[in-house]
Symmetry: C2
Subunit: 211 residues, 2 copies
């Protein structure tokens, strides 16, 4: 039985990982079924964890044969993916932003596509960058609505992050992946924010690498 409540964050992260493992196996191997311990060993987690997550989404598999790979992919997709996919806006088309567009959009079958980007640099505006139209930031509210965009990625400078997040949220965005160092967590309880600050994490790695 699927719960109507949202699943825990960590479960969602692992379901996303399981699906990628399963998609790869279904492409590379002539294999219909898989056991929890096989998934677990690829991801270096415990098979108890895998079984618990899959029980949570209502699939317990067969003790003799394990899980049906195709069915499991479909089930996970039905939970993770929005039915008609979700459209993403990226704000801040610098070094990082312009690299993330091709990286994310190269996953062809992904239900998640960056379909618009925004900047304030005249050299970038009204051009296609990595295959995606770049608009002036002022056009953000209208494009978000017109294009049915529900997710924002912020790759702008730190001190612009807060005002950009406010623009995105006013325009109706429901989730934000924030690459800046400005924490947006306390912004709005109805919008899901994931912090993804590369420089800070790299400096943290460096600190502990030096201990």
């Amino acid at each position: 039985m699927l719960s109507l409540h949202a699943l825990p964050e960590k479960t969602i992260e692992r379901l996303s990982q399981y699906r990628r493992v399963l998609l790869k196996i279904s492409k590379q191997q002539n294999k219909d079924n898989i056991f929890s311990h096989e998934i677990a060993s690829i991801l270096h987690i415990t098979s108890v964890q895998v079984r618990r997550d899959l029980m949570l989404i209502g699939y317990s598999g067969s003790q003799r044969k394990g899980y049906q790979i195709k069915m499991l992919i479909q089930l996970i997709s039905s939970i993770i993916d929005a039915k008609n996919g979700q459209r993403i806006a990226l704000v801040g088309v610098g070094n990082l932003g312009s690299a993330i567009i091709p990286y994310l959009n190269s996953k062809k079958k992904s239900k998640l596509q960056i379909i618009a980007s925004f900047d304030i640099n005249p050299d970038k505006i009204n051009r296609k960058i990595s295959g995606v139209n770049c608009y002036h930031l002022d056009e953000l509210p209208s494009i978000i609505k017109k294009e049915n965009i529900t997710i924002g990625i912020i790759t702008a400078p730190d001190d612009a992050a807060w005002s950009i997040a406010e623009m995105l949220i006013s325009a109706g965005i429901k989730g934000i992946l924030n690459f800046t160092s400005t924490s947006l967590r306390i912004l709005n309880k109805n919008v899901f924010v994931e912090e993804y600050d590369m420089i800070t994490l790299l400096e943290k790695v460096a600190y502990f690498a030096n201990k």
Copy 2:
């Protein structure tokens, strides 16, 4: 007084953020001192948090004038940065890897520099990519040692992550920033690993954005 023990992970993350705020202010404004509430308001955290972190590193500032900006930058740097900087190897020079090199190396004054990259694609090997030499993966152990590299960034495909991490660790790496979906947490207690899996986090944002 500085403690000889490692500071908490979250404190290190915030110190890294404070330093970036302070560097920006010292560049943009003619200002010698700053109060905890000013730093706090830029980062949207509480001033109590700022004061507590800075007490941990032994600087309590002056009640009347706040913290001296230059001194605070120096103090944080003396804690976060290794004295002679740290050298980074990036493994997997695909879309994402080749984008991260210029993004990270563009921070000119950073003590952290990517100075070698590795791949197995013959088209990439023995070329400079984004200004950094790309070597064959087989050369990783010797280059890491020769170049005194202490940090690894993994931007390779998921199923190569584990063996690359093992190579990096055998070669003497002390910290890893892992962009793949393969968790490396349980790998080795003497090596600090930070997981940084963009696709998984984006799928998580998408899931909660759709609730």
